[in-house]
Symmetry: C2
Subunit: 306 residues, 2 copies
């Protein structure tokens, strides 16, 4: 099985964490180094890595801090505060619990990461089982290497599939990351702007929607990259199945309790560091939205506890 570099974008070698710089893709495949937890938190805040990359970075930052004998409670506090919508606290609490119980921490963390890897592969396999020969799948943003993996499983089952990807403004993760990883894995992929979703659905081009999620509450509501919610509403309007590759549930009861991160408006008013909007005009950039469970045809769970 081949994996996208985005499937496992973080590594730990010696006393440095290597972070695939997702903001430089697809023009450059470069890794940046974080030598301590503060640099790791900064990379999260600057969106150098996202989605699963952030989860991995939290664990590797804890592991590195453990080896450097930095108090993990302090590390956890800084990491938890990096981005409000992401339930990092669930992860850091788990590690702090292991510590409290006197478990072998390094072994626990590495074991957890290994399980995560296996279960993510299993998640892609489960998604592939929902796909029919000839299906065209619409996706949004980037699901950290899972889309090409779903494609690989389909290929093994002799199902020919293709993809439409929204460009995903303002960071263009769909165009820069998902289209890139699908293309290099040999799948047919077409990029559309975020405002073309209803049109391609109306034209009958889309058979299934598959997206990821950054946060799932107890009731199955999910927070994912801004734009997911409206794709779910459109999928329902056009009777197209809407599948979500979910993370483990957080402790929150429902989606309305998930805090939505509002990022600086210059991230949408500028492009490549140059202002494109008229002077004085302001923008609004909620980075995520919440899709109620009722819009989700099927949750594809990450079964870490099994």
């Amino acid at each position: 099985m081949k994996y996208s570099p985005l499937f496992w974008p973080i590594g730990l070698k010696g006393s440095s964490i290597y972070i695939l710089d997702e903001t430089a893709l697809p023009q450059k495949i470069k890794y940046i180094k974080a030598r301590n937890y503060q640099q790791a938190a900064k990379a999260i805040r600057q969106m150098k890595t996202r989605a699963v990359g952030q989860v991995l970075l939290v664990f590797y930052a804890l592991l590195l801090s453990l080896r450097k004998k930095v108090p993990l409670k302090k590390v956890a506090r800084v990491l938890n505060a990096a981005r409000p919508t992401l339930p990092f606290k669930v992860l850091t609490d788990m590690v702090l619990d292991w510590q409290k119980q006197g478990l072998p921490l390094e072994k626990c963390i590495l074991g957890f990461l290994n399980t995560l890897r296996q279960k993510r592969i299993r998640q892609a396999e489960q998604a592939a089982a929902l796909i029919n020969d000839g299906d065209c799948i619409l996706t949004h943003c980037n699901v950290s290497g899972l889309m090409p993996l779903i494609g690989e499983f389909c290929r093994r089952q002799n199902k020919k599939i293709s993809f439409y990807v929204t460009e995903t403004r303002p960071y263009l993760q769909g165009m820069r990351l998902t289209a890139w990883e699908l293309q290099r894995s040999g799948f047919a992929v077409t990029v559309i702007c975020d405002n073309m979703v209803a049109e391609v659905m109306f034209e009958g081009k889309i058979d299934k929607v598959i997206v990821g999620a950054d946060h799932m509450s107890q009731n199955g509501d999910i927070a994912n990259k801004i734009g997911t919610y409206q794709i779910a509403i459109l999928a329902k309007a056009f009777n197209i199945p809407f599948y979500v590759l979910c993370p483990p549930p957080s402790r929150l009861k429902c989606g309305s309790q998930i805090k939505i991160e509002v990022r600086p408006d210059k991230e949408l008013l500028e492009f490549g560091g140059k202002r494109i909007a008229p002077a004085g005009v302001k923008g609004y950039y909620p980075a995520f939205d919440v899709t109620p469970a009722g819009f989700i045809t099927k949750h594809i769970y990450l079964e870490l506890s099994r």
Copy 2:
């Protein structure tokens, strides 16, 4: 009453047509010259002007050709072919009819343009009557100066209003044109990405949607900038009124007969002449979509015949 430069972006002086270059806004307010109908058609194809600007340019190109004694049938053929979704033929046929009837052509064309100007102002006034004090209006793309004019009428009626504008990828007409003309007219305007519509509606930020239309068929279906259809579906889902500033109806019976222009994918895969998409990835760029009449709370007609 103050008018946006986009309200009447074309002029004819001597033997040159002056075209406000909408691709240069908001950084530069510059006018390009067209000295004949071929250059006028080229400006339409290159989207230097759009919406009402294209309609005006068709008339000014016919007027200039008339003065230069170029056969108008030939001119009409070239203009009609410039962009497939726009019903230029209705306009050029009207002028050819006047010619056939032996009417004073120059006087007819100038009279028509004057009526168009008056009726567009009336259209903005009718839209303003639908707005309540405190309303926040979401719009998409650019309606050629009508949004600030609606704002001016509201101001006269002591109604305080504000605007949200989708950036409108890939040409960013919402961010570059609409936000610009609203801002310089003194209205509060916030730009969002095209994928944030459901979220701002969910947050209760939007009271009304008002968009324009490039084509209206006999049954009231409209073709407008790509993205309009999905905003209409979302407005319905959130119970928000969806108003359309319409052009006169074409001869087509319904929206499914409107030919949708598909533009070169490099217009979305490049930004500022530089490729942003991964090498080898293709895009799909339908420039318009059709919103069925059933999604339109109220058509605001341009009553040219009255």
